[in-house]
Each structure stands twice: as C-alpha cells, then as structure tokens.
C-alpha cells in the first residue's frame, strides 16, 4: 500500500516553542490564550487557479445559454441584449507561436464590426468587447482545421480571460471585456474615487503578464484594436483617462501556479470591489485586474515604468514604460489620442524558447529543429532581434543565464539573483553566439546566433566571454569544444547508443558557414568533423570479472517510459550478474527527472529526489512499490541520511537550504536549515555531503559561489568558503576533516578544511589544457560534477561533463590519473567489491552507460 501525501493534513507547532520567549520574558502571566497552534497548513502558498482544464476556451464566462437561464438574464430577449456571432481562427506566427485571429464579428445579425480587429493573428488574441447580458456564439477554427463551437452569456461586467487549455500559456489567450449596461465605470480622478461615463475613457490598454513578458494591445476610443506585442509603451496625455486591463496568464502549467504583481510607477487606482487605493496588484493565473487611471495625476508627464514586482521577473525583463505626455502636446492630423508604441513582435526577428523537462529539449525553439541536427535548442535571428523564454513545460524553478556571449555585447551578462518560475525576454543587439543555460541545471542549453546579414556566414563573433569571466577567441579549441558539447547535449539522436555498439557513433552538426575570429569563414560541420572525427566505433560493453556486493542503483534521469509525461526511472543492477534487475518509473506520481537517491539504515527503502519538481519520493527497494511522495520544496537535488538519526537531509536546489524529514516510518517534514541569513543572496545548494559522525554538513551553494559548513550537532553555520563559479557537489574524507567541492563552470576543485571552514587549495582541472590550441599535456577535467571520496579515504573520483574521469590522491591532493568517459559524464559513487575493496561507478546521463 502507498500513501500519497495529504495536503490538508494538520500540522502543529508545539505550543511551548512558540510561547517560549513570552514566558521567559515574564511579561505575560495570567491570561495566555491557547494560541500558537497552527492548523490546516498548506505545503506551499495556495495560488488560486481560475482557468479550468475542461477543453473549453471561454470557461471563465457562463456557458449556459439555454432557455432555462432566461429568467436569470431577463434582458435576453429585450432589445438591449445583443447577440454576437464570432469566428476566430488559430494560426501559427513566424516564430512558431500559435495565435488567434478574428475572422468575423457580427452583432445582431446585421452590424459587422470585424473591421475593429487587427487583420493579423495576434498575441494577445482579439479582445471581444460586449455588454452585460449579451449572448455570444463563437466558432473556433483550430490549427488542425477542425472547428469547435462555444456559446456564452456575459454574466456580469468585468474582463474575463479566455485561454486554450493546451497552448494557452504560449499565445492562445485573450479577453472578453463585458461593459456595464449603465455605461459608467469607477475611476480615481484628482485623488478621489469617482464614477465616470465609459465614453470618457480615452483608451483601453490591455497588458497580459505571461512568463516574464508583458503582451499588449490597445483599443482606441472608436473601438479599433491595435496589437502592441511585447513590453510595449502605452502613450497618453496628462489627465486622459486610461482603462488598464491587466491579466495574469502564467505559466499556469506549473503545479503550484505562477503569479505576478503588477506595479505602475507614480499612479494609484482603486482596487475593484473595494475603496482601497493601491499601486500593486497580485495577478494569479487566469485572473484580470481592471482600473482607470488619471494619467499623470499629481505627478505630471514622464516615462513611468510599469513592471512585474516579482524581483526575478523584473531582472528577466518584465518591464516597460507608460509614456505620459504634457496635456498640451500637439497632436498630428486629426487624431484625438496618440498611438502607443508597440514592442518586438513575433512577426519580425523574434525567437521563442519553451523551457521544459524533456531530455535534450530543455530549451525548445518552438519552431523546432532549424539546423537539421536533431537539436531543437538553436535559434538564429538578425542583430537587434528578440528572444523570449517561457517556462511553460516544467515543474521546476530555473534561471535564464547567459553563459556565453560576444565580448562586450549590450545587455550582457543576463542573469537573475535566484531561480524562479516565469520566463525571460531579451533584445540581442550585437552579432555573435549567445548561449543561455539554467544555472541550476547547466546542461539545459539554448544557443542563439545573432547574425549580421551584411557579412558572409553566420556570425559567431570575434571573441566570446564565458560565464566565469574568461574571454576566448571563436577560433579556439575551447570554443569548438563548447559548440560540440551543445550539439551533443541538446540532441538525443547525437547521444551514444550502447544498446547497439555495432553502429558507429556519429554526431549531426549543422552544415553551415560561420564567421569567426578575424572574419574568417568556416563550415561548422567540416571543422567539427575534422577535429573530433565522425562515425566513431563504440567499445562494446563488458562486465567486471569480480562481482560487486548487492545492488547498484542509478538514476536514469532521462529515460522515458510509457504511461507518464515526465522522464526518468531509477534502475537497479544486480552486482553478481551485472544485469539490470529493476526499473522503477512510478507513473502514478509522474516521477519527474529523478536525480539522486539514498537508502535507509536497513536498506529497505529508496529515497528519490525529483529535481525538476518539488517532491521527494520513497519507494520499496525490493518491490519498487511507492510508499510516499512528499512535497519538500523547489528542485530537490540530493538526499542523504544522518548516521545517528536516519533522518533525510534533502538539498533544495531551487531554494536556500536543506530540508529534514524524519526517519522511517513517519517521514514528516521536521526542519528547514536556512543556509543564509535572511535577505542575503540566494544560495541554491545542490549536492551536499555529511560526515559519517553526523558532525558536519557541507553544501555547495551554486548561486553564491560558496560552500557552507554547517555544524549538525549545534545546528549552526560554522562558516562559508568562497569556491569557484557554480559549485555543484561535495566529497568528504570519511573523518570529515577535509571536503572537496566541484566548481562546475570554473572546472576547479576547491579543497576545504571542514572544521575551520577555510580554503586549503584550489585545483585547476584545466591546468594541462591549452584552450586555444586544444593541446593536452596531462589529466584534464572539463566541467566537473559529482566528486565523492572512496570509503577508505584514499581517492577522490570526479566525473567531468567534458568526458573524462579524474582521480585524485587525497593524501597529496594531486591528480594522479584521468580516464576516458562519455560526454555528459555526471554521477559517481562507490560500492563494495566482493572479496574486499571498492568499485567507483560512473554514470553518463546522455548515453545511460555505467
């Protein structure tokens, strides 16, 4: 039997702990209320979800147009209730995004108002403007040509989001604006709440908060709709009355929702339904917020910023300005209002990436594979083009981080202070190669070539700056190596296939000319093939002669199985026969990217993190049966148990600490260890390690470039050690005295004196590598990841993404050997060998080879 975690489970804080301070202070005595008992706690902040997954688009309005509602809507048959016949069509825009286009809008079988709408398919879709009580019949022509029909009645005045269930985060959304019959609306004018006629509204501005981008549209006084696209600049004159409709779109696909806060500088408005004056409003998915501002009231003209106030969204570009001109601005021609200024549009020099949990396609250009390499993570735009990212296919939190960009490029580097749910939008001005990654999941890659059409070949740029600050020429070996890594990582068809080693391994590269250092033009495929070879023979797999003890468990994170959407299985190998003996995929919980595991004291259970999600799962090691699925926090990466308590310590890669779950059989969340003081920059720890005596825990803090040494006995942080860029995993000498941290982007190992939290040494794994020529004169480790120390304390083994295994002698802290591995070499751990000694098991995530 298994028990799915119950969200409504009661959770109690001990009364004594809450009141401790109070009692100790001797101020309170006689009338303590039995307070401090907190009931009905949610695992996460509940985000209201408005849009239903019912297959309908107009599901925020009443769909009941049948006769039995006529009593409720008494005006139905009277002349004041209009009937609208509407046809809209889904269409794919040049960047690959779907959008709605208005085909026809006829009112009362007679008045054709189709001319009010844009003649393009637009994001957002057409705003259907009707009156309270009106009846609407809509025909929707889907992308596949099928036509569906929906009917609705405007239930009451307001602005209602319509949204496709499947593609509604990406472009298939819009609003129905239902105006009140009395033609009046609330407004804050001269600082006072008042009611004004709708015909005093100078324009309607629609802003949809999507990912980390505003998508806009305006409706002029005469009803004409103009798409304003991304992060537009609405324009008004001082004291004009502008009705803003701000909508939260999402992504709503995230299981815990995804909300925004809208803020417009220097303006205030009435929170509808209240007399509260506000200037920030929470927008949950599928909700709208409508208000009228008196442009520039009390503040005068200016370029007034509006933005999402979720800080990471702001950093990711979710902002623009509201341009308020002086009241006496001369208007050209016969216009009564000034047109707003549209932002970048998907019709011109625009690329869109969907961020998702799919192996290899983590950043998916929604136009698909444009290079004929199997990689869907490449986009090509011209200079001053726009790239938009949308986290609509992932349950995790991420960053959009520029890890490679042309030296001195405008708006670079691009990064956020912490991982989040949302998206990003960025204008790339200068030609050259840009690579974006998630800083928590650094194999998630998107490459954008920004081309100057006036030069021959695709521009990769003269020199590139890397995330750690290093600058390299594009004709260097390291640049080529990175390019090759990109085409392997992002194209599963380029991964080595050991299930059939008789077939040679070939990597598809783009057959395209590129312009590199000194303006020389080379064919990318020719250069990569001549440097790294092609059709390489894969060494057939073979088994070790000496058996292992017990089972070897591996997170086959990218393995896809039937019956679930998300990738990943846990695989067991029988250490005697060396055969795969078990596969656990847990379709009932849609196990998502299982990344790291541990076992209980009795080795009955497996504790499994879901790195692209917020859950850690417990299953029976023998039967694979699910025991519990626990929401622990964003992006749980690694898990270990305390040797004394058998409690689970789970590093939350998407948060700022390590959460502790009590041991078998309770498995209750019991503690959260914050690895930073409040308001300090976010740590985002990944692969922690704990000493065998339960004295020390060392976390690699990916975002702050530190390792935190935590005293488990005294529950306090001993200190923080500055490591290289992006520390991902920690290894430790069995007695806990010395810790090793793999610094991913710097390709270094930081050696730490654990007890004193001081840096002893930094080992450069690229010391024997010439990044320009590619000459190798000794062991090399490119982009190191897991780095455990053997149980006898003698050796540390490091898996390097670049395709090598580094072995270090812990007595001298010198590298003594390197061994070949596959690209995507990632996980390492030790297991007992029959008859004594240990094996180190090294796993390559792309090829699923151990």
């Amino acid at each position: 039997m298994f028990e799915i975690f119950n969200q409504t489970r009661k959770w109690q804080v001990k009364k004594t702990s809450i009141l401790y301070v109070v009692v100790a202070s001797l101020i309170l005595t006689s009338f303590l209320m039995p307070s401090g008992i907190i009931k009905g706690t949610n695992a996460f902040t509940p985000i209201p979800q408005t849009v239903n997954n019912d297959g309908k688009i107009f599901d925020t309005l009443s769909s009941d147009v049948s006769s039995n509602v006529t009593n409720e809507f008494r005006d139905l048959n009277s002349s004041s209730a209009a009937v609208h016949d509407i046809a809209i069509k889904e269409q794919v825009l040049p960047d690959g995004e779907p959008a709605y286009k208005m085909i026809k809008h006829i009112v009362n079988n007679s008045m054709d108002v189709t001319g009010n709408y844009s003649d393009l398919a637009t994001i957002p879709g057409p705003a259907i403007v009707i009156n309270d009580g009106d009846i609407v019949h809509v025909a929707i022509q889907n992308l596949d040509g099928n036509i569906t029909h929906e009917d609705f009645v405007a239930p009451h005045p307001g602005t209602f989001v319509y949204q496709d269930d499947e593609l509604g985060d990406r472009g298939l959304y819009g609003v129905v604006i239902v105006n009140p019959k009395d033609g009046m609306t609330e407004a804050l004018v001269d600082g006072k709440i008042t009611t004004i006629p709708l015909d005093e509204i100078d324009k309607d501005v629609l802003l949809f908060m999507v990912g980390s981008t505003f998508w806009g549209m305006e409706i002029s006084k005469n009803g004409t709709q103009t798409p304003l696209w991304t992060n537009p600049v609405p324009v008004a004159q001082e004291n004009q009355k502008i009705r803003f409709h701000v909508m939260g779109i999402g992504p709503s696909s995230n299981p815990n929702g995804h909300s925004h806060t809208f803020h417009l500088h220097a303006h205030r408005w009435v929170d509808p339904g209240t007399s509260n004056i506000i200037d920030v409003k929470e927008l949950h998915p599928g909700t709208s917020h409508v208000f009228v501002v008196d442009a520039g009231d009390g503040v005068g003209p200016g370029d007034w910023q509006f933005h999402c106030h979720v800080f990471a969204h702001m950093e990711a570009g979710m902002m623009s300005t509201f341009k308020v001109l002086a009241a006496n601005t001369t208007l050209t021609e016969n216009t009564t209002t000034l047109p707003s200024i549209p932002g970048a549009s998907p019709y011109h020099n625009f690329a869109t990436f969907s961020v998702n949990d799919e192996p290899g396609k983590w950043f998916k250009n929604i136009k698909g594979d444009i290079s004929n390499t199997g990689s869907e993570s490449l986009a090509i735009i011209n200079k001053s083009g726009t790239v938009n990212f949308m986290m609509d296919g992932t349950n995790g939190v991420h960053t959009i981080t520029s890890i490679i960009y042309p030296k001195n490029a405008t708006h670079m580097p691009f990064n956020q202070m912490l991982a989040y749910k949302g998206g990003a939008i960025i204008k790339l001005e200068d030609p050259g190669l840009y690579v974006f990654a998630c800083s928590l999941h650094p194999f998630m890659l998107a490459a954008v070539v920004v081309d100057d059409p006036n030069t021959k070949g695709l521009d990769l740029g003269e020199e590139l700056t890397l995330v750690n600050g290093a600058t390299i020429p594009t004709n260097s070996e390291i640049a080529l190596r990175l390019l090759r890594t990109f085409f392997i990582a992002t194209s599963p068809s380029n991964w080595q296939d050991y299930s059939n080693t008789s077939k040679p391994w070939s990597v598809s590269y783009p057959d395209v000319d590129a312009r590199i250092t000194n303006g020389s033009v080379v064919n990318v495929k020719d250069v990569l093939e001549s440097t790294y070879g092609q059709n390489l023979t894969l060494t057939p797999l073979s088994n070790p002669i000496t058996p292992a003890v017990g089972e070897i468990w591996i997170d086959t994170q990218f393995e896809k199985t039937a019956g679930k959407d998300k990738p990943g299985t846990a695989t067991a190998i029988n250490g005697t026969t060396w055969n795969v003996s078990k596969k656990v995929s847990l379709p009932q919980i849609d196990m998502n990217n299982p990344h790291n595991m541990w076992t209980d004291r009795d080795q009955d259970l497996i504790y499994q993190t879901q790195w692209f999600d917020n859950r850690t799962t417990i299953f029976n090691r023998t039967t694979g049966e699910l025991i519990k699925d626990i929401q622990v926090g964003d992006d749980p990466s690694h898990v270990m148990t305390g040797t004394k308590t058998d409690d689970l310590y789970i590093a939350l890669n998407g948060e700022d600490g390590v959460t502790v779950i009590s041991s078998n059989p309770e498995f209750e969340l019991q503690k959260f260890i914050l690895l930073q003081p409040p308001a300090s920059p976010s740590t985002h720890p990944h692969g922690h390690w704990m000493s065998a005596d339960d004295k020390y825990m060392v976390t690699p803090d990916e975002h702050t470039g530190t390792a935190t040494v935590y005293d488990m006995e005294q529950d306090k942080i001993i200190g923080k050690v500055k490591t290289g860029v992006s520390p991902v995993a920690v290894g430790m000498i069995p007695d806990g005295s010395k810790s090793y941290v793999a610094d991913f982007f710097d390709s270094t190992i930081s050696v730490i004196d654990t007890a004193n939290a001081t840096l002893l040494k930094k080992i450069n794994l690229l010391a024997n590598y010439d990044p320009i020529s590619g000459n190798v004169t000794g062991p090399v480790g490119f982009l190191p990841i897991q780095t455990p120390v053997s149980p006898d304390g003698q050796y540390m083994v490091t898996a390097n993404t670049g395709g090598t295994i580094t072995i270090l002698d812990t007595d001298t802290d010198q590298i003594i050997k390197d061994m070949p591995c596959d690209p995507g070499c990632h996980g390492v751990n030790f297991g007992a060998k029959k008859g004594g000694g240990y094996y180190a098991y090294v796993f390559s995530i792309f090829q699923m080879r151990l």
Binding site: M33, D271, V280, D303, V310, M314, F672, P678, A679
Partner: protein, 354 residues
C-alpha cells in the same frame, strides 16, 4: 457606491465564540482603558509639514545593505518652525529601513547618502506623488536622469503626499541593472534596501475591526503601528509606539509583537522579494482593506501591501501558511499585555548577526 458586505455568518459566530473564550480567560483587572494614555499619539494638526530627511545607505554583514536614519527634521509649512525627531529612531537593526510617518498634504524630501564607498542605490517610493526626477530609476528607463546616490554624490528625492495618497506604502532601491565600481550586485531591494512610508488620511479616519464589528476609528486613536515586511524566508518587523511619543523600535526577524489589551493597533503588512505568501493570523481577524469583509489571512505578493487596524483583544500567532516556510521559522507571536506597560520584545541576537 461601495458595497460593504455584512460579515459572513461563520465569522460572526467565530467572533462571538472567541469573545466568550476571551471573556472567560480575562481576569477582572484587565478591563483597563488604555485610551487614557493617548496624549502623545499621531499628530494631525491643521498645518502641513515638510519632512526633511537624510538617509544613509550602509553595508551590513552577509552581503546585505540597509537604509539608516541619519537625520529627520519636521518643518511646519505654515510657521516654518522645526522639530528634530531623529532620536525617535532606533538604529540597532537596520532592516527594514526607517519608517516615515506623514499626513496627507505633507511633503517629504529624502537626501540619500551612499556610505558604502561603492554602488549606486536609490529610493523609489510607492503611493506618494513625485515628479519623474524623483522616480529613483536610471536614465535608460526614465529618459531624464540617473537618480541614485554615488559614493561621492548624494541624491535628493522629493515626494508629495497629495490627495489620494493615504495608505502604507513601501519604498526601496530601484537601480536594477547598474553595477558600478566593480562590485556586482544587482537587486539591492532584495538584500535589505526596503522600508515604508505611512501616509495618514487628511480626514483622520480609518476603518477598523473593533469588538468584531467594522468601525471607524480616528488616526489619533492608534496606539501602535506594526510594520511587517514579508520577505522570502522571514518576516522583518519594526514598530512605532505612540504611547511612547512615537518611538520607533526595530524588531528584527519573526518578532514577537506586543500590544496592550484593548489598544488600537495598525498592522502595515508589506511584501518584498520573489515569493507569494499566505499571511495568516490565528485568533485575530481584520477587515479586508477597503471592505467590511472579515478575514484572517491574505495571499500577498511582492510589493503589495495589506493594512488593517484592530482593537487588540487576544494573543495570536502570525505566520506564513506554508509548511516549508513555517519549518524555516516564518512565524511570530502577537502578545497582549495587561495594558499598564506594553513593551516590545527585542529579538534574539544583535544587530548584524540576524
């Protein structure tokens, strides 16, 4: 025009039940009127004031940055008399920054002094009126000027608490994207540069929940203002005690809030950072701002505010209703004292070790 809903029946029942419980718990001596002490509460005279403030920006430990009150002069705009109220502020814990209390009709001038020797911090306020030159943003955005304090050049921001600006508003740094002097730190607003301005309405009236019923109270009746910033992992608190002449006390992280029984207190809930939180109190209810709806929780997102005034009648716990954040300690106590000597609990730890 405003649709004041009646309290839902369930709330009424809860309130009644609570009242009964409280009545049973209260010793008889507890029925003490605190209104007798109200001689030094919020001043709301006929004269508008100019608030002439000097705020420093200082670096704390652990990469945190804070606003620090250097000097605060209140000038009467009619008779030009001045009062220096700097000593009412508390510099022990600098997050959140100093709260400014003004009346609708007042002016505020803040001169920001960068005492860090690096960086380019600013002040951007919510709620108040200001010209584009006091936006606290950079020229690439506002098209006018870089409005921030360099290590050598202070910047003065001028705000006007004009009509319709009454409320409790956050102010914070807004120079995102500018890394100067080689120190790469964006987003100073997320590492401590945030505070509040409370603008009291010119009519002197506030909605409050008193003895379970929506009631108008006078601004002058407020005994304490609590400022609670909901941050990603903690609450940061400060208070202004009008029974002590408007003394500001910094309360630190997840503080215990204290108030005299039957006193009138205002909770100024602010939010900053990245996360949404379900701010909840057990045993205490309040009016959803601008309505007569009685609530005891509110989902709040970054930089939204949630302000309510209540008559104090029971101990409570305030918390973020999220299991993960509660485990991290995101909760605190609200403790009702006997009304004779209400005082704050100073949080454990000193200024910079928080």
């Amino acid at each position: 025009m405003y649709d004041y809903k009646l309290p839902k029946l369930e709330y009424v029942i809860t309130t009644l039940a609570l009242g009964l419980i409280i009545a049973n718990f209260l010793p008889s001596y507890n029925v003490v009127s605190v209104f007798a002490q109200s001689s030094q509460k919020i001043e709301q005279g006929d004269h508008s004031k100019s608030h002439e403030i000097q705020i420093g920006v200082v670096e704390l430990n652990n990469d945190r940055i804070a606003y620090k009150m250097n000097n605060y002069l209140v000038r009467d705009l009619v008779d030009n008399s001045t009062t220096n109220i700097t000593s009412k502020y508390d510099n022990r814990i600098l997050i959140p920054g100093p709260t400014i209390v003004a009346n609708e009709g007042d002016e505020v001038k803040i001169t920001l002094i960068n005492e860090m020797g690096w960086g380019y911090p600013s002040v951007h306020t919510h709620g108040a009126h200001y010209k584009i030159t006091s936006d606290g943003t950079l020229k690439e955005l506002n098209k006018v000027s870089d409005q921030a304090a360099s290590p050598t050049q202070p910047y003065t921001f001028e705000w006007d608490a004009g009509n319709g600006t009454a409320g409790s508003w956050p102010f914070h740094d807004h120079t995102i994207g500018k890394n100067v002097l080689g120190k790469s730190m964006d987003g100073l607003e997320t590492v401590g540069l945030f505070s509040s301005i409370i603008i009291n309405p010119s009519d002197g009236k506030l909605s409050a929940l008193v003895d379970g019923a929506p009631t108008q109270v006078d601004v002058k009746d407020i005994d304490k203002d609590f400022v609670l910033f909901v941050n990603d992992d903690v609450f940061w608190g400060s208070e202004i005690d009008y029974a002590k002449g408007g003394k500001h006390t910094q309360l630190g992280v997840n503080p215990t809030l204290t108030a005299a029984n039957n006193s009138i207190v205002r909770f100024n809930i602010q939010s900053i950072g990245n996360e949404f939180h379900d701010f909840t109190m057990d045993n205490v209810q309040w009016l959803e701002p601008g309505t007569n709806t009685v609530v005891n929780s509110h989902v709040i997102g970054p930089l939204a505010n949630h302000v309510f005034t209540i008559k104090v009648d029971s101990n409570a716990t305030y918390f973020d209703n999220s299991k993960i954040n509660l485990l991290g300690g995101m909760k605190g106590s609200f403790v009702v004292s006997d009304g004779i000597d209400n005082q704050s609990f100073f949080p454990q730890g000193d200024t910079n070790s928080i």
